[in-house]
Subunit: 155 residues, 2 copies
Amino acid sequence: MNMPDLSQGENAAAVNSLRSAILRLTRRLRHQRVDESLSPTEMSVLGTLFRCGPLGPGELARKEHVQPPSMTRIVAMLETKGLVRLEPHPEDRRQKVVSQTEQAEAMLEESRRKRNAWLAELAGGLSEEEWDTLRAAAPVLEKLAHLPMPEAAPR
Amino acid sequence: MNMPDLSQGENAAAVNSLRSAILRLTRRLRHQRVDESLSPTEMSVLGTLFRCGPLGPGELARKEHVQPPSMTRIVAMLETKGLVRLEPHPEDRRQKVVSQTEQAEAMLEESRRKRNAWLAELAGGLSEEEWDTLRAAAPVLEKLAHLPMPEAAPR
DNA sequence: AGTACCTCATTACTTTGGCTAAGTAAAATG
DNA sequence: CATTTTACTTAGCCAAAGTAATGAGGTACT
């Protein structure tokens, strides 16, 4: 395959600044979480559950790019907080099914409101064009996050 | 003309998917660091130092959104690896000045090459339009990372 | 000048959030 | 029916960042 190496330099620069921006944003998000009692990842799991419906821990781990044991712990935490139900799979008794509770739905709604407030504040700092850019970038970043990694696939 | 609150719903959705994509990307980056011996944050600090020139630990901490003690640790680590020099401030003896060494410059160059290779692999997964989108989004994310936070009340 | 306060960096300790390795139970395969 | 595979879990570890307290150097106010 022929690589458009003309754009590689630009892409490298973009990835460079993307990487550091993402790192700093992550740290900010950790501090400014909308719900004090939930880690960003736990929040993200709830979001995935909301979007995709009930899933097994393994599937969930794959989607979140976390190892299965970590997901076990996260799900356990969410369960003790009453945000998630953990039930046996109807057909395969090895598997389990994680589904969100009504309480989780309420919490997501609450968090959505808070996030809107936060956004309204932040909106002053970005122009409409910049928001457009972010809106366009979001799905691409999602894709990038799930893209199979060529050199990191030794298994 | 048109107030931005019309687009708040869309922005909220964008931020939602931005947030989870960023989280997952961060975890991927942690695994796939170009240089095994340096954490992503250490790498980022080096980059900042490269872009902005010599800075004090405090300033650096603020730029990276890290607490001062963490930056002290990071700088110390970088110093023992010979990537950074730590000197007293000429005028204010409370302060110190961190500057990168020639070795750091060489390492950044090396890492740049590796990143290009990684990119070339990944380029197959994204279209040119998607790359354009990312290139456009990078500076906006940078800006977002450094935007003053209204509700982040100083404790 | 001296005292009170403030700022920057550091030290010591804790928390968090992920990982690997090993274990158990259930299903699939021969 | 024995073996291997799959799905989740348990246990223990480690790295990165945070908080609280310390110290040393400046600043301001009478």
